[in-house]
């Protein structure tokens, strides 16, 4: 191994390349013209303050609802629609945002059933547009993520603990304190950081539901600088500010113990000591009903596209579906490859010289990727690559690459923990048997990673299939994806057809996550 020590771990090379790519993109953007201002003015600081408080509110509510849902679904393990509900809700986290927005408008909008119901009871619900609309959309998109992670984490508590709880006749409060509490305390900081960054950098939701320029994020400011002021240097400056702030937020969260939340494990099928409580039965029922109420508008709005499905039959839709599938497959493969490289670099330490610091560093860096501004990155890379080939050709490379980067934090969250576990459990044995490289992967890592790998591929594919932000810059001509086609149909008054395309997208995302869960 002496010769190999001279070469850095391929994961570190990948990390270095990624960092270089990001910085090069920003530099390319800054060089494209405009006035660079390194110090943000009062307007930008106002945006940062507003976005931070919006993100804090969204995070707290997503955590509360997501946790309640996770506990409810864990206790009601016999609830028949459990799997489907989770698959549908996961689809909500990855659906094109416009689908979520129209779903919420259909339920909570001015002519929707809910405000009408409230009005008949003599209540006036506030309009959905404004800060509360943004927060509501963010909760719909992120509470399922919280629920998924916590359900997996709670399910992974050793069966002995649950059995002990039964023997000690734990009441529901004891269960919360001794069984679920530690898990929640462990996972919350990481989840909070994750969701906070997603909401802090939100774009389409803020623009459509914000109700006006009073609600903004730095992502909106970047878009404005790129599209309206055509001041590329300013866009690069704001992008840099957003990346710096994201790193700062991640560091701040890490001070309270944030790490990437752990995910999967096997459900042990233990009956929980608190499953019999009457009170909890009603509380859980209410929580599950509440979750369904939140997700119902999106589902209903998507299902309304059913009648228009026949209108989709045509060469352009088929081609867009194929393009979407190919781009999503490439992006997913790339995201998983990067996650594996980074995770193994984080774990790789010579025997006896374990470096938890490095693992943590990689973890935090991956988390901070959530703060990447896609518009600025894509435009910067475009500037660097202009003139080197056709736009479609460049797009064919850049779209999956940027989508993979966007999916990386999600994928890393799914893959790193099992990889670490497998290294902890079998690392020494594997080394003592002289297993390395491919043999190690095949015999030791693969069996532990197969399931999380499938889940990660599915999630990454679903995420990039729903992407519109990146494809909007390169689409057209030869590179048309389903979300792109959806926007085009909407632009030509064909709202119904756009609805049918949304149905195809959400159904594919649901199917992907549903199947990956069963794999």
């Amino acid at each position: 191994m002496a010769g190999a020590a001279a070469l850095p771990h391929p994961g570190l090379i990948a990390a270095g390349l990624l960092a270089a790519l990001i910085m090069a993109a920003l530099a390319g953007l800054a060089s494209a013209g405009g006035t660079a201002t390194l110090m943000p003015g009062p307007y930008l600081w106002g945006v940062v303050r507003g976005a931070a408080s919006q993100a804090a509110l969204s995070t707290v509510l997503s955590l509360l609802l997501g946790t309640a849902l996770a506990l409810a679904l864990t206790r009601r393990s016999s609830f028949p629609g459990r799997r489907l509900l989770m698959a549908v809700m996961t689809a909500a986290t990855v659906a094109p945002t416009i689908v979520i927005i129209f779903g919420l408008v259909a339920m909570f909008g001015r002519s929707a059933p809910l405000p009408a119901l409230a009005a008949s009871l003599g209540l006036t619900l506030p309009a959905i547009y404004g800060l509360h609309g943004i927060v509501l959309a963010h909760v719909v998109m992120n509470a399922p993520l919280v629920a998924r992670v916590l359900m997996a984490a709670v399910a992974a508590t050793p069966a002995e603990q649950t059995r002990l709880g039964q023997m000690l006749r734990f009441n529901p409060l004891d269960c919360l304190r001794h069984l679920d509490g530690p898990v929640i305390r462990r996972e919350w900081p990481g989840l909070a950081a994750f969701i906070f960054l997603l909401c802090f950098t939100s774009f389409a939701v803020v623009l459509s539901l914000g109700g006006g320029p009073a609600n903004a994020t730095l992502e909106v400011a970047i878009y404005q600088a790129l599209k309206l002021d055509v001041d590329f240097a300013r866009a690069a400056g704001i992008a840099l500010l957003q990346i710096m702030l994201s790193l700062a937020f991640v560091l701040a969260f890490s001070a309270i113990g944030a790490r990437l939340p752990d995910a999967p494990g096997q459900a042990r099928g233990q009956t929980r000591p608190d499953a019999g409580s009457r009170l909890l039965f009603w509380i859980d029922g209410a929580v599950i009903a509440c979750a369904m109420l939140l997700i119902a508008p999106v589902v209903l709005s998507v299902l309304s596209g059913l009648g228009q499905l026949p209108s989709l039959v045509g060469a352009d839709v088929a081609r867009a579906a194929l393009t979407s599938a190919v781009l999503a497959a490439i992006a997913a493969a790339l995201a998983v490859l990067l996650a594996l490289l980074l995770a193994s670099a984080a774990e790789a330490a010579p025997l006896g010289r374990a470096s938890p610091g490095r693992a943590r560093l990689v973890e935090l860096a991956v988390l901070a990727l959530l703060g990447l501004p896609p518009f600025a990155l894509v435009t910067g890379l475009f500037v660097l690559l202009r003139g080197t080939g056709s736009v479609s050709g460049i797009g064919l490379v850049l779209v999956p690459l940027i989508n993979a980067l966007m999916a990386l934090p999600f994928v890393y969250r799914l893959l790193a923990p099992p990889l670490r576990q497998s290294a902890e459990r079998h690392g020494r044995l594997s080394t003592s048997l002289g297993l390395s490289g491919v043999a190690h992967l095949r015999i030791v890592a693969w069996p532990a990673l197969r399931r999380p790998l499938m889940a990660a591929l599915a999630l990454a594919a679903a995420l990039s299939m729903g992407d519109f932000g990146v494809i909007a810059l390169f689409g057209g001509g030869d590179l048309v994806t389903l979300p792109y086609l959806m926007a085009e149909r909407m632009g030509a008054y064909r709202l119904d057809e756009a609805g049918a395309i949304a149905l195809v997208l959400v159904a594919s995302a649901t199917a992907l996550t549903f199947l990956a869960d069963r794999a």
């Binding site: 259909a106 309206l228 736009v391």
Partner: protein, 333 residues
Amino acid sequence: MMILRWIIAAFALIVFSLPSLAQTKPVLTVYSYSGFTGKYGPGPKIKERFEAVCSCTLEWVATENSGALLGRLRLEGENTRADIALGLDINILAEARATGLFIPHGQPLDGLALAWNDATFLPFDHGHMAFIYNADKLAQPPKSLRELVDSPNGPRIVLQDPRTSQPGLSFLLWMRKVYGDKADDAWVRLKPRIVTFTKGWSEAYGMFLKGEADMVLSYTTSPAYHISAEKKTNFRAAPFNEGHYLYVETGALLRTSKQPELARRFIAFMLSDAFQSAIPEGNWMYPVKTPADGLPPSFADLIRPTETLAFTPEEVMANRRGFIESWQSAISR
């Protein structure tokens, strides 16, 4: 490894279905926006009709909208593959001119349906901004912009964000034309009835159709779509007595074109009947030259504003940033 094999096969399929480089016919590359080039836009018809007479291949490259079109050209600069830019709207022409990427079109401008004397940007369609309402739900739409602004119990409207959308910017300019320096106060009075500002035209129009607002900012020609495609006559444009804001879309020749002859032929083709007759029920705008067969029946009952409001492109360029900042602070008050 089945999956891998499948991915490679699909990838190969995509790559090989990209236009082959070994084409013998010359290729004319036209940058436009997706609403124009898409299945329901006039793009497919125009491609077919131009290719029938040019013995060339017309290749569309679509961007998200007019603003993105200029943004793309600005990024690509002199390396652009575009021979023609089709869809630059009146409000960004001064900025487009300032890039120095375009050369005069050389077409005669007499006999156009609108007054126009720009030597670089050749209009291919035009129309006016207007608020669209559903006559089954709103019996008495406001008769003027002032009435809309000053009726506390008036109709609720959905607008587009002037920072991200061309129609949104047009309405900002419309307010300035009618209210001048008092526009900010007018925005404050209008604000309680603005449902939201959306990123683009389609989200706003979608929200209106779903019943979120009584009126939506769109074009005087929008009802023609509902008449023609859906046989519905209840969607109408509200005539405002101050006049309506002008919207014009233009095409221009790129100085760096490698196919200057072909590009000039396309510019001339833009004013031909073959091109112009694809506009009304393709782009849902007025053609700049009335087609030989006249306008389609769906256009017969549309309102025709007598008073046209417009800033010159140079005025827009000089004031846009200031107007937007002042709107931003007025609406955030």
